[in-house]
């Protein structure tokens, strides 16, 4: 096995591996599947690189699921360790990301079910708008409440699907693998969720166009 070296800094890890001709090639050239193979053999640096590669996106997904920083951090750590425990069940030739996010999302959904969340809505970001007025602010507040109501009433799985697709950039096929559903089912949920959200947005979009 080729030797791995790492420089751990505040930013992304810079890892290298000695190639056959002796020159150092960056380990970032290794894809996730190759890293998994090394992790199976107990390679710490390969595992670390997988963590670095997926940590931020995993946190983002976890935060969307749980809505709390501490809970999301715990979920990310637990998911990475659970993935290590189950690494022998990962099938070579498949994509690592959906397999890993499936572990994370399932744990997140279970965690959300098993406790009452102390979800606090984030403060609304100030949207730069030169034409702000008390009337517009009221409209915005109403719209926000309407959208929040739609999101509250979406089935948890449907909400996760629309968040994973619209905010985290997963494809419908990846979401299907993550949630253990068929692609058709994911697309149906996505269509339903989008339709409800568009309906809530409708008056606002229309009034904006008219204005």
């Amino acid at each position: 096995m080729r030797a791995l070296a790492t420089e751990v800094g505040r930013g992304p890890a810079v890892l290298s591996v000695a190639s056959e001709d002796g020159r150092a090639a960056p380990v970032v050239e290794l894809d996730d599947t190759e890293l998994v193979e090394r992790v199976r053999a107990g390679d710490v640096e390969a595992y670390d690189l997988l963590v670095v590669r997926h940590m931020k996106r995993a946190y983002s997904v976890a935060y969307r699921l749980l809505g709390q920083r501490e809970d999301a951090e715990d979920l990310v750590q637990d998911a990475f360790l659970a993935a290590l425990e189950k690494i022998d069940t990962f099938k070579q030739g498949r994509s690592f990301a959906p397999w890993f996010y499936r572990i994370l999302v399932n744990r997140g959904l279970n965690s959300r079910k098993s406790r009452s969340l102390r979800r606090m809505d984030a403060l609304p970001p100030e949207i730069s708008d030169a034409s702000r007025s008390p009337l517009r602010d009221t409209e915005r507040a109403e719209l926000k409440e309407r959208l929040a109501e739609v999101l509250r009433t979406l089935p948890p799985r449907q909400k996760s699907i629309v968040e994973l697709f619209e905010l985290e950039g997963f494809s419908s096929l990846e979401i299907a693998e993550i949630l253990g559903l068929s692609d058709g089912t994911v697309r149906w949920h996505l269509h339903q969720a989008r339709a409800k959200l568009r309906e809530a947005l409708g008056p606002f979009v229309r009034s904006n166009r008219e204005a």
Partner: protein, 134 residues
């Protein structure tokens, strides 16, 4: 809905979701600490994996049943051999007339039989014979 066509994110829906739910506060997370925690908690399971790799490299695994069979066969064979060598003192080997070392060396006997044959010989005599064989 065409299932073969890859769906594209809807920017309006995405913006609405971000607006209502807020952005994920990525800047609040101490990434170095999280990474270090995960690495630390993973160190033991990874060490176990390395130990297992050393104990049984992948290419060895298919050979384990063969090795076990070979081991059993060896034990069985040695068992028979031991029975032969532990024959009572009244057997012909034990009561045979002492032979000369030259005869023992020239005869077609096993190492064990050779040791029995020369057991009572003088060490000096054996040394001389060995020197003369060179």
């Amino acid at each position: 809905m065409n299932h073969h066509e890859e769906l594209k994110p809807d920017p309006l829906i995405g913006a609405a979701l971000r607006w209502v739910e807020g952005e994920v506060p990525l800047e609040e997370v101490d990434w170095a600490e999280m990474r270090s925690n995960i690495r630390q908690r993973a160190s033991l399971p990874l060490a176990r994996r390395r130990a297992l790799q050393v104990a049984s490299p992948r290419w060895v695994k298919p050979l384990i049943p063969l090795a076990a069979a070979a081991g059993l066969a060896t034990v069985f064979w040695l068992g028979i051999g031991r029975e032969d060598s532990s024959l009572p003192a009244s057997t012909p080997v034990a009561v045979a007339t002492p032979v000369s070392i030259q005869e023992a060396l020239l005869s077609d006997v096993s190492d064990q039989e050779f040791r029995l044959l020369v057991a009572d010989r003088d060490a000096d005599e054996l040394l001389m014979i060995a020197a003369s064989q060179r």
